[in-house]
């Protein structure tokens, strides 16, 4: 230890007072008393139910929602639940996590309740105050354990020459264990929220380009599949068109792959409302790497080219202290904006919370009738908002989302990328989380798909498929593990789900076993031997969504016929999903290999105007070499 630290230690030991004997005795007595009370009162009613309970998993996500009673909890909704699921699963492997045990009465302190009332009274709450609405200590513990778990999964897999010489990276990924096979006669309904994030693919790409296989937890198959543009027909009326197709599963002769895809309508771009963008830029010391702040500046330059004179841009930088770098400026004043961007320099610790508050304040100031406001958070992932505030931050973002300002997250660089937090923030902010590893990716996200990313056409989009037991014996949803919803959540408009922007596409694949084929699960000895039902339908598809700003949902319903045809787009999606499953080390693919996936993808490249599919095939080849 250096001299300075020794000095500090000496000074501390001199300064530390002796605990007051009377207080000590009182404190010890209080502790003893509470221990005794606890023994006698474990069954007493609990005044606060906001700590998720042990049963949450057994009872499904629904129970978790019931358990969240605070205001922030209600607005944080599904995305938060999905996030909770993500974080909790790894912990469960080591036995029950601390936070899911009942919260005894003695824990509840009056000041917390008081604060809740005060916080509700104040319309414009600070994040700190919101924190008190959540269970004070349970969530941080949850977060900590989940993070440390993820770290053990990931540690050492990505060597990142960081300027701050962090030896072990602190990346955390949102993931959940693979969806299991469902037997239609037992569970005929499958429900999930759409996901248009593509961050996982970019993370996989950056790992492979660095000569490493990505950590399994970083691979989210639906995000890989949804990374690619597909040739789906645009809707002739309404917000969405659905596109169904089916093919023989390449890796299993007994099953079929069913594709359910949504194509969002592309509103006339000319008619889009003016846009207020607040760039919230992480300028902490860790951003000082070529693939972080400099790439970020170049990316935002690209984005500026897409904006119009009536759009406004403001910049907030956050590091040790948050600060407004550029006041709201009309987008055509390019020189002013670029000048402010160029002046950003990395240094200091991250103070994400203050930055976020300031960005939202600016967005509110810029907001006028009929305009769209969005905070665009650019970071390498370390939010450093203080452990106790991480959940509160999400509540805060969800709150702002409900008041009309959305949040998107752009991730840069590797090493301490907190993918888990990025996902959660974007999901709560009705935005997308994208990971930008190179300029072409910035081009894809910020130029080609800008309209979709910034202008939602439908929110809380949920998909429910009811399979027909007369035709489908078993099914498995591929991917969307972090987006699963409980069956009853489908009709509950309070349950948040993913959003779809202008022109967005969502593709979901089910691997189904038709009745009559060899099933993976043995048939039950007891139970009905035959099932009545139409033999012409595989199932019934229901979509539920809200138009932006609307409170009530609309729905689209259609039967899924048994007569679906394969197409190139499905073949490519299947190849990519098998690539994802290979990277995750899934056991569901049998003998299927990377080589076969490469072959399948190559045969299904289609037009591939931008070369995305060709790039994916390159990545598969890299994975072969690295495995």
């Amino acid at each position: 230890m250096s001299d300075d630290l020794d000095d500090l230690k000496a000074a501390f030991s001199v300064a530390t007072p002796v605990p007051d004997a009377k207080r000590r005795a009182e404190n010890v007595a209080l502790a003893q008393e509470n221990l005794a009370r606890l023994q006698g009162s474990t069954t007493e009613a609990r005044p606060m139910k906001d700590a998720p309970r042990m049963g949450a998993f057994a009872k499904g996500i629904r129970a978790m929602f019931d358990a969240i009673s605070s205001k922030a909890g209600l607005t944080a909704t599904t995305a938060l639940a999905a996030f909770g699921l993500v974080m909790v699963l790894p912990v469960l492997r080591e036995g029950p996590p601390e936070v899911f045990t009942p919260k005894p009465a003695v824990l509840i302190e009056a000041p917390v309740l008081e604060e809740l009332i005060v916080a509700e009274r104040e319309a414009d709450m600070a994040v700190g105050a919101i924190a008190s609405e959540l269970a004070p200590s349970s969530v941080p513990v949850l977060r900590m354990s989940a993070k440390s778990q993820s770290r053990t999964l990931v540690a050492g897999s990505i060597a990142d020459a960081s300027v701050v010489a962090v030896e072990v990276d602190t990346e955390a990924f949102a993931s959940a264990s693979e969806n299991t096979l469902k037997v239609t006669r037992e569970t005929s309904v499958s429900t999930f929220s759409v996901d248009v994030d593509t961050a996982s693919y970019a993370i996989v790409r950056s790992s492979l380009m660095n000569g490493q296989l990505p950590p399994a937890a970083a691979v989210r198959i639906e995000e890989m599949v949804n990374y690619f543009p597909y040739d789906y027909a645009a809707p002739t009326q309404g917000v969405f068109a659905t596109s169904l197709a089916m093919m023989a599963t390449p890796w299993n002769e007994n099953t079929q792959l069913l594709r359910i895809a949504l194509q969002g309508q592309m509103p006339e771009v000319e008619a889009r409302p003016p846009l207020n963008l607040v760039f919230l830029i992480d300028t902490s010391g860790s951003m000082n790497q070529p693939n972080k702040l400099p790439l970020l500046k170049q990316s935002l330059r690209l984005l500026l080219g897409q904006l119009r004179a009536e759009d406004q841009v403001a910049i907030v930088a956050y590091a040790g202290s948050a600060g407004q770098v550029l006041e709201p400026t009309a987008a055509h004043e390019r020189d002013t904006i670029l000048g402010a961007l160029d002046n950003l320099a990395a240094g200091g610790e991250t103070n994400g919370q203050a930055g976020l508050q300031q960005a939202y304040a600016l967005a509110k100031q810029m907001q006028e009738e009929g305009e769209v406001s969005r905070v665009l958070l650019a970071t390498d992932g370390d939010f450093n908002v203080g452990l106790s505030n991480a959940e509160a931050l999400k509540g805060y973002i969800a709150d702002k989302r409900d008041s009309g300002t959305f949040l998107s997250v752009l991730g840069f660089g590797r090493g301490n990328l907190d993918d888990e937090t990025m996902q959660a923030l974007a999901q709560n902010g009705n935005g997308q989380a994208n990971y930008i590893d190179n300029l072409p990716e910035a081009q894809k996200v910020l130029v080609d798909q800008l309209t979709g990313a910034l202008f939602p056409i439908a929110s809380d989009v949920k998909v429910q498929v009811e399979f027909n037991p007369a035709t489908v014996a078993e099914y498995r949803l591929i991917g969307y593990e972090t987006r699963a919803l409980a069956r009853e959540d489908f009709n509950n408009d309070k349950v948040d789900a993913g959003d779809i922007g202008a022109g967005h596409q969502v593709t979901a694949l089910y691997e189904i076993t038709p009745v009559g084929n060899e099933t993976q699960v043995d048939a039950l000895r007891y139970g009905e031997s035959s099932v009545d039902g139409s033999k012409d339908e595989l199932g019934f598809l229901k979509l539920r969504f809200k138009e932006p700003g609307a409170q009530d949902s609309q729905s689209i319903e259609r039967a899924i016929p048994t007569t679906l045809e394969p197409d190139t787009e499905l073949e490519f999606a299947a190849a990519i999903s098998s690539f994802g499953e290979l990277l995750r080390g899934s056991e569901r693919l049998g003998d299927w290999s990377y080589e076969e996936a490469i072959m399948a993808a190559s045969n299904a490249r289609g037009e591939d105007s931008f070369g995305y599919r060709a790039e994916a095939i390159q990545l598969m080849r890299l994975a072969v070499a690295l495995k």
Partner: protein
């Protein structure tokens, strides 16, 4: 009985206390109170705040113990409880700025006997007062002779982050020293 228990490990005591064993709990408090108080003091920066934080922790400890699974060392677990309680207390105290006041409003008990140390303490106030909460939490734990891995475990960050934070602290201290010369 008691003599035997004195030799019992912290974890075993904690698990016994969790099961409602008042004697085990009492022994555990005896063992840890002063160390805990020292940590509370370093986290909060004032004698009064440290006493109050200790009270918060003592009040909640029996309930928290019901969730102690013995997966980590008891001290690590206890310190995590303490750091979380400190965060709660700071948050209740209001803004970040206000939380820093513990160290700003330092009430040094300057008796005659301590006169020679007064200068060192002034330095400590300046040194710790300028650290962010994260850095201060880290320092408070490192000063307890925990290694960086253990500190990381308590704070839920990686060992590398703790090392990096400590190098930041050293930088601050160095800058302070230079500014004083």
């Amino acid at each position: 009985m008691i003599v035997m228990r004195m030799k019992t490990g912290d974890k075993e005591l904690a698990l016994a206390a969790k099961g409602g064993d008042a004697k085990a709990f009492s022994l555990l408090l005896e063992r840890f109170y002063d160390r805990l108080f020292g940590l509370c003091f370093r986290l909060m920066g004032s004698h009064a705040e440290a006493e109050d934080l200790c009270q918060d922790i003592c009040a909640a400890l029996p309930a928290k113990l019901t969730r102690f699974e013995g997966g980590s060392a008891f001290s690590t677990w206890l310190y995590r409880v303490a750091v979380n309680a400190a965060h709660d207390r700071r948050r209740r105290a209001g803004t970040r700025a206000k939380a820093a006041q513990g160290w700003g409003d330092w009430e040094v008990n300057r008796t005659e006997a301590m006169r020679e140390q007064a200068e060192a303490q002034d330095w400590l106030i300046r040194a710790v007062g300028m650290l962010s909460n994260d850095l201060r939490d880290t320092v408070a734990l490192v000063m307890d002779d925990m290694n960086h891995r253990e500190v990381g475990e308590v704070l839920g960050v990686s060992e590398g982050t703790v090392s990096w934070r400590m190098s930041e602290v050293k930088k601050h201290l160095k800058a302070l020293k230079e500014s004083e010369q």
